[in-house]
Subunit: 143 residues, 2 copies
């Protein structure tokens, strides 16, 4: 692979495809079954089957049999899948602010009672992080 050694590129090799992230959005909303993923994402069944296979192989979803006759499976988030929540929420917030007209279609509430808006902070000091207070101290090599 050419380009820069980079964990963003590595992450995108797993989830960097529109339908994959929409499947994970649905899983986050509690959806587990093929037909529901198909309906709620609008993905064709062929593409959806391929994406689910990739996500299971990458350990982001787990395929679980829920009935034996006939054999039927559903898809549940693994720990690695649940860890994608900040990616989805950051995309939602950006979409609400820059890509959606009108009211946000989906809204979340935090346990504090407020409508949820994600903020990125430094996990060490807990204060806001943005381009004004972050500095690259090492960058991946370009091949």
């Amino acid at each position: 692979m050419t380009g820069r050694d980079c964990s963003i590129a590595n992450a995108l090799a797993v989830v960097g495809e529109r339908w994959s992230l929409l499947v994970l959005r649905e899983a986050t909303l509690g959806v587990r079954r093929f037909d529901q993923f198909a309906r709620n994402t609008g993905a064709s069944r062929d593409i959806l089957a391929a994406r689910l296979k990739t996500l299971v192989a990458a350990g982001v979803l787990r395929r679980v049999r829920y009935t034996d006759r006939p054999p039927r499976h559903e898809y549940v988030l693994t720990e690695s899948g649940r860890a994608l929540r900040p990616v989805l929420m950051a995309l939602m917030e950006w979409g609400n602010n820059y890509a959606t007209e009108g009211e946000p279609p989906t809204a979340w509430r935090h346990e504090c009672g407020a409508e949820f808006h994600p903020e990125m902070v430094c996990s060490s000091c807990g204060t806001h992080a943005d381009e004004t207070n972050l500095q690259a101290v090492r960058v991946g090599r370009v091949h």
Copy 2:
């Protein structure tokens, strides 16, 4: 468009393509010029030109002429482009933890002095947000 009304889907319509996000990663690292984007992402020149055009049309990058003879342009992040930082950082963190073997290729430092790891908090109360304390109060309609 079928599927769910959703700002994640709307965001992905703009940036939901591997090369687009890698271009934005490079812009975040200070890259502005076509040749450097091409080299550092590994994108072919045709694909890169198409992605830059889309990102400029969507208002994520601004195309600026930096010399007149010959006419040459560079690409700089707009406010909307800078607002994608949490998406890139969330992808980097997930990639470091789940998709990269060994040491993270790229590292950032927060102004507090710590190596930067992003954490998602509620912008209202400032405390940690994850699937245990977030609840969907409204979800977009499925078409």
